[in-house]
């Protein structure tokens, strides 16, 4: 048993804290993923979809004007150009293909703002697999367009009317569905979170980002960057770009959402800076850092970027932060907004508010020298989805 535990964890983090009804599905998934992850046929097919459907490789763009403005040489990894507008599809394509290889007929997922749901819908349609996405009823109203998008692609969006009618309730409902339909259904998690094997599997699927950066930066600079900066909600875009560099002499900065400040009440945090301020706990099937009160009740997190608004974080990130391999940082809502405007104006690229947190950190840290001379920033997605939000804020 010792050995098995080791497999499912990153140091003490990770594991499989799930109801027994789900354990067989988790075991099956672990087994199947182990089976296919290095399978050449599987990987060839995945590469094909990443290239021809998703549009990979995404460029590594030297941001001339921004470099000048921030005072450090900045390369942008352009996940905003991936089909669907974010890195999310890298993972859902991988999991949908695995679903096909496992012979399952149905995909379920939950979504908050709708980004992961949309990526599921795209992958589901590409592979012709029936897809259902749980979404809090309140979120379906707020994110009407994403609901419509998913439905256009043949995905059934199931409104969850229990509880707060938001992401949390959608997760619960999706888990219930999975529990009831494990034999036929694959549950698609959208970040490096949840029970093993998800954190590892999603990381592997997202690692295509960092692998491309390795080649691209060598072509452009003849050497690796001094640092890589990525925003961190669950942590999938961060792990995706970090992981291929984990053994290299490259500093890795995981930038969390500092929200409107570091204040915390009994029930809420004004931020989502889990690695920076959280404590060890168990949430959504994993042992990781979480935002919680003194009793262990999970706090409602907060961020201007819906994709970062999560009270947990991937267990591997918690582990790497403990060992000092990655450096957790954060940017406030207002700083992210500022950097968002910078990139739009200076480079003609509208970044997601999530990604703007990474930009904002570079803006404030560049002068300290902490980032070195060459920085790669992961532009995890495009900001078209965020225009209403930004419009609603004073600059």
């Amino acid at each position: 048993m010792k050995q098995e535990l080791k497999q499912t964890k990153f140091g003490k983090y990770g594991g499989q804290f799930v109801p027994e009804v789900l354990m067989p599905a988790i075991e099956e998934l672990t087994e199947q993923y182990e089976k296919y992850k290095d399978d050449p046929v599987f990987n060839e097919e995945l590469d094909y979809y990443l290239r021809d459907f998703a549009g990979r490789p995404s460029p590594l763009y030297f941001a001339k004007h921004l470099s000048k403005e921030y005072g450090v040489k900045i390369y942008l990894k352009r996940e905003d150009l991936v089909h669907g507008g974010a890195h999310k599809l890298n993972n859902t394509l991988g999991q949908a293909l695995l679903t096909k290889y496992m012979g399952k007929k149905r995909i379920i997922a939950e979504t908050g703002a709708g980004q992961h749901g949309t990526a599921c819908a795209m992958a589901g349609a590409a592979f012709g697999i029936s897809t259902e996405v749980y979404m809090g009823a309140r979120d379906t109203v707020r994110q009407r367009m994403n609901v419509y998008r998913m439905e256009l692609m043949g995905t059934k969006v199931i409104q969850v009317k229990s509880g707060s009618q938001t992401l949390k309730d959608a997760i619960n409902e999706a888990m219930r569905d999975w529990a009831a339909n494990v034999e036929t259904t694959h549950y698609m998690i959208g970040s490096v979170v949840g029970p093993h094997p998800y954190p590892m599997m999603v990381r592997d699927f997202q690692s295509v980002i960092g692998k491309e950066v390795r080649t691209q930066i060598m072509e452009k600079e003849g050497r690796f960057p001094d640092s890589i900066v990525a925003c961190t909600g669950g942590g999938s875009n961060a792990m995706g770009i970090f992981y291929p560099f984990i053994e290299d002499d490259v500093d890795l900065f995981a930038v969390e959402a500092g929200g409107s400040g570091m204040k915390v009440t009994e029930k809420e945090a004004l931020h989502s800076a889990t690695l920076c301020t959280g404590e060890e706990g168990i949430l959504h099937g994993m042992h990781t850092m979480v935002l919680q009160n003194k009793y262990g009740q999970i706090l409602e997190s907060s961020s201007i970027a819906a994709g970062l608004d999560y009270a947990g974080v991937g267990p591997e990130l918690a582990y790497l932060a403990d060992t000092g391999r990655i450096k957790p940082r954060n940017s406030m809502d207002s700083e992210a907004l500022d950097a968002f405007h910078d990139l739009c104006r200076l480079e003609g690229i509208i970044p997601a508010l999530e990604s703007s947190h990474a930009l904002a950190y570079v803006k404030k840290a560049a002068s300290s020298g902490e980032l070195g001379e060459i920085v790669v920033i992961n532009i995890s997605g495009r900001g078209d989805k965020d225009l209403e939000t930004v419009m609603g804020m004073k600059k």
Partner: protein, 261 residues
């Protein structure tokens, strides 16, 4: 009272156990005291008292709503144990909660608190056998039962491990899906009861709401039935709660008795 003592007592009477779940503090700690008394009066043999967690991913919407009411009513682990300590009942009490609350309190402190305040067993629906090593060790040390769930999907190899880890009773999940009152009882129950080869008593839960069902379940060979959502529904209604809890418990227990083992 120890869980095994209760099962032994019932065994002598050739009777199955009625295990009733409600969420502590739903909607207030005072109400819980009253409801527990009513359930005991109706014939409950063991009471599972939920310690509410903010993210109850293993529970159905009915119980989730109860948990929210409890949290809004101010329930905390400290208040929970105080409440337990103040209950005047002579049947085993079991705490059902999520692992994070135990982890945060500290595993050993949690188990010791169970002992001090009179809790005989612990159910942690999001704690798989794989992750239970440390808690299981402490439970053994302090003589508290750690109760595990098995499901129709549970494989043979997992079944062995779970049965080896668990004490008190085995919680058989009657059908796939999560808690929530359902209209009939799946035929798969009998199959599962037969698959679970152990001397530990077997209690069947998930989706049971009336006497006809409890009777059927006991006839499959189970040693007890677990009913939660049906009770929580009554609490949610807010109408004549103690009376109706007692009545339902009686109906369920009558169903069990009618299947006389």
């Amino acid at each position: 009272m120890k869980i095994s003592d209760k099962f032994n007592e019932l065994k002598k009477k050739k009777e199955g156990a009625l295990i009733a779940y409600i969420c502590a503090g739903d909607p207030t700690p005072e109400a819980t005291k009253e409801y527990v008394t009513a359930l005991v009066r109706g014939g409950a043999d063991i009471i599972e008292l939920g310690l509410p967690f903010s993210d109850p991913t293993a529970d159905g919407p009915t119980i989730q709503a109860g948990i929210e009411r409890a949290l809004n009513g101010g329930m905390t682990p400290d208040i929970y144990f105080k409440l337990i300590g103040s209950l005047k009942v002579h049947i085993p009490l079991v705490v059902m909660t999520y692992y994070n609350l135990i982890f945060k309190r500290g595993l050993e402190k949690f188990v010791k608190d169970c002992v001090s305040f009179g809790i005989s067993g612990i159910i942690v629906p999001d704690l798989s056998a794989e992750e239970s090593g440390e808690l299981a060790g402490l439970c053994k040390q302090y003589d508290v039962d750690l109760i595990f769930l098995v499901a129709p999907t549970t494989t043979e190899s997992r079944m062995k491990r779970i049965l080896a880890e668990g004490t008190g009773f085995v919680y058989l999940v009657a059908r796939l899906g999560v808690t929530g009152a359902r209209k009939d009882v799946a035929a798969s129950t009998r199959e599962l009861v037969e698959r679970v080869k152990t001397r530990t008593p077997k209690a069947v839960g998930f989706g049971i709401s009336n006497g006809k069902q409890t009777s059927e379940i006991i006839r499959t060979g189970a040693d007890g039935v677990i009913v939660g959502s049906a009770f929580v529904d009554i609490i949610a209604s807010g109408k004549d709660v103690p009376g109706r809890l007692e009545a339902l418990a009686r109906e369920l227990k009558d169903g069990i008795r009618s299947a006389n083992k």
